[in-house]
Symmetry: C2
Subunit: 147 residues, 2 copies
Amino acid sequence: MSTEHRFVDGYLLYLLARASSVASAEFHDQVRASGVSVAVWRVLASLKGTDGLTIGELTSSCLANQPAISKTVDKLVGQQLLTRTTDPDDRRRVWVELTPQGEARADELIARAQKHQDRLIAAIGLEEIDTLRTALTRLIDRAPAKK
Amino acid sequence: MSTEHRFVDGYLLYLLARASSVASAEFHDQVRASGVSVAVWRVLASLKGTDGLTIGELTSSCLANQPAISKTVDKLVGQQLLTRTTDPDDRRRVWVELTPQGEARADELIARAQKHQDRLIAAIGLEEIDTLRTALTRLIDRAPAKK
DNA sequence: GTTCAAAATATTCCTTTTCATATAATAATG
DNA sequence: CATTATTATATGAAAAGGAATATTTTGAAC
């Protein structure tokens, strides 16, 4: 680099993407090292604590697109980590749930995530983290609804 | 959804990813509608305002991995938006620069990005945006260095 | 200066994502 | 209720992305 007065360096969307990327990099490496992709981690984590989500809810929760989720769910059903059930009241919809094995896998990963977050809080400071959490939550809530 | 007490809903890395995703969605749609991928937009935007970046610098700036950048640069060189030059002093390194056409393309997109950001600031409030910018910048600076 | 290690980029192969569209079910309209 | 529109998910071909490794060049150690 040389002249240094780049638009991107002050651009909010770039800061957001960069912050997300650098803050997640270390944990995502751990996730992959434990044998699951980030996409799979997101599916498992999204389902944990629910009675099941539809494909559409998973799509939104995982920040992915619908075909990608359908295929990831396919794979995880094949690995007996998830089940798929057609909704009897609306047979277009499909409910996805964790199997006991899926729960176990999710629990392991969430425990790691929790530890990682604890270290992050220790390093950055709880107060600042909370400021950030608040600001991010507001941004999320006020962002233009999709589609 | 039903029981609702999900780990992910309070998880900082998830809030970051989600905030980045929802805040960027609208603009990224515009970018794609104008015929370039988000990956290409990042390369063009990263180069604008520099005298050229190496593949490695682009990799880091674009939040991508090295092979992906090599391939994207290949494509853009083919479209005459970029040039590639081997560094004479260190022939392992490759400098990537915008051509005049590439500059023009970057300028258009940056103008849109700027307008989009202005609307975002108008909607959210400058004060809150600045709080966020500060917190994100600190997070980025304090995150564990990669590799 | 040879040899060995490290760094920067390219390449290969394989998985995943994406785009567009298809299919199926429900809702809305006349 | 028959028709049309809308919603939810699946599928298939094409593009992109990622992991591992190869290649080339530089730097270090002796």
